[in-house]
Amino acid sequence: MTSVGSFIMNKATANRFTPYIFLLPAAVIMVLALLYPLGYMIYGSFRDWDPSQSLTESTFVGLKNYITLWNDPNFRESTLVTLKFAISVVTFEMIIGVGLALLLDRNLRGMSVLRTLFILPMMIAPVVVGLIWRYMYHPTLGVFNRGLKSVGLESVDWLGQHALLSVIIADIWQWTPFIFILALAALQSLPRSALEAARIDGATGWQQIIHIKLPLMMPVLIVTCLLRLIDAFKVLEVILVMTEGGPGLSTEIMALRISRTATEFRELGVAAAMSNYLLIMLLMLTVLMLVYNRYMEYRASRAMLAARGA
């Protein structure tokens, strides 16, 4: 009786909890789909764990997996390849994407068609992209080598000797459009009159880009860059299809090594530890992005306050 009474008494409190009741389903899904696997992975990374065992049958080994990996030259090589890959693709994609956006930020006829064409690579499934490029890079049948041959040049061993370069080129082809559309959107939302003022102040096209356009686009560009960087660290399918990480370890990026450790070497614990290393790297990038956003918000709010006070 008293509990019912207090329930009625606390109707106001109950009302306050209503929003959380509605949030509950989403929270449950999040726990099941995100936190549970994540916890499972972290838990597994401390164990010596074969796919034939259930997790409870595996033995606890402490930080052994992490330490083994830290000292494993192959893992280091793989980390290095991932870093090389991510940094070089993002650098080139930023330069080409922003450059294209600066060039195409004008009212050309058929611009909308052109824009759609530009973002097509992004819409193709990664596996298909991998297949297309693998055929194009084929030593004898590929369009690149046939092209070189027809103008009388030596053929290039694309996926052998220059495997990393080749996958970098393919990734640039696929993801430059992402940077391009975001940069174009940023450009088109710039204040027109500030650019006109710059023209009157005597800025040439280049000076407008360097002194006005790029600084004003910078917040968007930084976020774009970080998003792209996070993505580049996780790339898998295209490289899997094109080179399977080879030859040797030359294109074995982390995601690929993780999947091979789990399936070929049957070391789930080590694979989980490796995933955690990757996760930590990505978390650092994400935190960097959040800190940047917070900083910008803080600056904007301070500016608002100053304006109101003035």
């Binding site: 204040p191 003022a197 102040d201 002194h211």
Partner: protein, 363 residues
């Protein structure tokens, strides 16, 4: 400072011509105000002079040099924009010195210029603030400062005060007028606000629908408007227009409207000699109607007062004169009541006359 001349200047967007053969000459160190309702082509004209808008036909001369094919920076002009167009990522000092820095002037000179102009505009304390950290009026001042620092021969203003609230606008208008005294440059100023035009201009150019309606000193335009548009555009409250017919009775001329008949004196008779039609439009400003209960009928009109708008020392009465709306300005302490029929005397030299068919003034 060079004379700026527009010759048969025209502008089309696609097949639509928005400016029709504008001819205009702006003298040395003259403050010219282009004024007109929105869409009249005044801003387009200014932007063409600035070089931000391409020229469809005709030519712009600065000095003796045709400039319509030149980039803005080769025209030696500075411009103040309606939305200030400050560079958001630069502080006030950087904003003001941008042009000089691009021109690679010596650091010392730039420093000096910025300090001087900031001093003049009261911006010294704000030199290190970003535009977002300034109030509207301060931003407006920075925009002005950026133009002044350039030291160019010609200043262009594109509705610089219209983003400010009413009180600030009045204050900035006065400051502009003061700056005008100190800075002897060519100034071309676009506005839709006729008070700004009247107070600031050496010369007003009234534009409508892509044509120049009339140009001249504020006084000329106010006293001798060339057509009905100019007469109605300048002055608040606007001029009243009343249809009248000319009637000749035993060699005296009368102007008959609905409900009144004015007897013309010799001067007015003379002015109306050239009218082609007997039916004309009579214009009279609200301030020229004098409350005079005892005036004789042939020198006055009677008005039914419908609304009285109290604005302090003056009130504006909106009344009805034979079906046409008439506004009267009079002292607020005049003892009148709404719904009353009041008599106002007219001084005939205050009357303006226009043809009904083409709205041109009769003279």
């Amino acid at each position: 400072m060079p004379v700026i001349k527009l010759e048969d200047l025209s502008k089309s967007y696609g097949s639509v011509e928005v400016l029709h053969s504008i001819n205009l000459e702006m003298q040395d160190a003259e403050f010219t105000v282009l004024v007109g309702p929105s869409g009249c082509g005044k801003s387009t004209t200014l932007r063409m002079i600035a070089g931000l808008e391409s020229v469809t036909g005709g030519e712009i001369f600065i000095g003796d040099k045709p400039v319509s094919h030149l980039e803005p920076k080769e025209r030696d002009l500075a411009m103040v924009f309606q939305d200030y167009a400050l560079y958001p990522h630069m502080n006030v000092a950087k904003n003001m010195s941008f042009a000089l820095r691009l021109a690679k002037r010596p650091k010392k000179e730039i420093q000096q210029k910025v300090t001087d102009v900031a001093e003049m505009l009261g911006l010294t304390d704000y030199l290190h603030r970003k535009p977002a950290e300034l109030s509207g009026g301060q931003r407006q001042r920075v925009a002005m400062g950026r133009a002044l620092t350039r030291d160019s021969a010609t200043f262009l203003f594109d509705e610089p005060l219209s983003n400010l609230d009413a009180k600030l606008r009045t204050q900035m208008r006065a400051e502009l007028a003061m700056m005008r005294q100190r800075v002897h440059k060519n100034m071309i100023y676009v506005t839709h606000d006729q008070i700004e035009a009247m107070t600031l201009a050496d010369r007003i150019v009234v534009m409508n629908a892509g044509h120049i309606q009339q140009q001249g000193t504020p006084e000329e335009l106010f006293k001798q408007p060339k057509n009905k548009f100019v007469a109605g555009f300048l002055g608040t409250p606007p001029m009243n227009f009343i249809n009248v017919s000319m009637i000749r009775e035993s060699d005296r001329l009368f102007l008959r409207g609905s409900g009144f008949e004015l007897r013309c004196d010799n001067h007015t008779t003379d002015r109306l000699r050239n009218s082609r039609s007997a039916d004309i439009l009579m214009g009279i400003r609200p301030c020229d109607l004098n409350y005079a209960p005892d005036a004789t009928a042939d020198h006055s009109i009677d008005i039914n007062v419908v609304i009285s708008e109290y604005i302090g020392a003056q009130s504006v009465l909106i009344g009805d004169c034979g079906g046409q709306e008439v506004m009267v300005e009079l002292k607020s302490d005049t003892p009148i009541a709404l719904g009353e029929r009041l008599r106002f005397s007219i001084n005939q030299q205050d009357l303006h006359f226009f043809n009904l068919n083409d709205d041109e003034a009769i003279s």
